[in-house]
């Protein structure tokens, strides 16, 4: 009877199963893209059966969309916890950059998912009702910081918050998302601790120098590490 009885049958756990499926799917889609992802592989990783995916979520594309929406929800949630209102404008921008950078580092699948979705020309995102509704009041948050900075004299000129946000995301996103090819091209490991610190410093220096007019050298060394926004995990 020792081995004979198999593994105590199985237990029911719909919610848990659903989560495990989505988690496994996120990993799979992130590493292989939409077309490269294998449904069977997701099932196995989730400790499930292929049929379960269809039972709990839907077909491959539904699954993918759900994963994508989840990813957006997660970052937006963390962003909301940033509250830049109570910081001096330059500090606020620095914190935003720091957060964005570290979020991307902590969640590499997010980068991959976005790239995958853009390869698909945002085909899935377009048909998503959820995501469209959550276009963050984040832009407003940034707009406030910028105008506040201009008034206080910290910033020299107003900047379109959308442009600024995209630029900040760009500086971090591109570096991390393309670190593999860039590392080969430039022959240096761009993901080493030192390289990452240097990059964060550079980004903050670049943006703040542009906004404040102070020398790009004024934002060196000390700044970045100090304000480490690790932001409470929002899940």
């Amino acid at each position: 009877m020792a081995k004979a009885k198999r593994v105590l049958k199985w237990q029911r756990d719909p919610e848990g199963m659903r989560l495990r499926i989505l988690e496994a799917a996120k990993a799979e889609f992130a590493t292989h893209g939409l077309a490269g992802a294998r449904v069977d592989s997701i099932a196995k990783k989730a400790g499930a059966n292929k049929r379960m995916l269809y039972y709990h979520v839907g077909n491959k594309e539904d699954l993918y969309l759900e994963v994508l929406e989840g990813a957006y929800e997660k970052i937006r949630a963390e962003e909301r916890g940033l509250d830049l209102e109570h910081l001096e404008p330059p500090e606020a921008i620095a914190r935003l950059i720091d957060f964005t950078w570290n979020y991307f580092i902590r969640n590499p699948e997010f980068l991959a998912l976005l790239n995958t979705e853009n390869l698909a020309k945002a085909r899935h995102l377009k048909r998503s009702t959820k995501v469209k509704s959550m276009h963050s009041p984040f832009v407003e948050m940034i707009r406030t910081v910028v105008t506040r900075g201009v008034k206080s004299g910290d910033f020299r000129a107003a900047v379109d918050p959308v442009q600024l946000y995209i630029s900040i995301a760009a500086l971090a996103f591109f570096y991390l998302s393309n670190s593999a090819t860039l590392s080969v091209i430039f022959g240096r490991d761009l993901l080493s601790k030192d390289a990452r610190d240097e990059r964060l410093e550079h980004m903050i220096a670049l943006v703040l120098a542009a906004l404040t007019g102070k020398s790009i050298a004024a934002f060196g060394k000390s700044k970045a590490p100090k304000l480490q926004v690790t932001a409470q995990q929002a899940v």
Copy 2:
């Protein structure tokens, strides 16, 4: 005899065929990624037969690598024609940004290919002998511009040319590569003529303001359109 004789048999054209295959492959890989690309589809688009791909290039991955190498060669070639040496440092940087931006716009497949390769963790690029040897003397070109700018007093502080190059590429790359999702999120068409002009202006303003210390507003409106670097096609 009018229709009977078919289409005059066929003509031999190895080089032409090879080019058509690579061109078709570039388009296919760019739109569907590596896993999503279909060999048959490439063949059809090239006006060829699947067997031809294997005959002239090799299997799917070989084909992909060749396309990727070609893409790198092309941009490096155009970059070489930029000669920033004869420009005032700020002009040189502006021109570099302008060129990068317009190159990306003219060659959207390049962006997609890079993303695809990064999804694959640069697996193919690593085993490429060609690409590694051509890591542009481009970095040196930029380094020269920067140090020249510092000496002349145009720039306030020296910046690591690699960081600067990555940042410039980032500002353009991310915006264009992610325009699909960003457009959905922000609810505006980021690829309209106006939006593109605005973006170019913003990028130049941001980088030059950071480097020179002049107000971010000083680089408005007029600058960008004037120096249109369309760069002679290098193929």
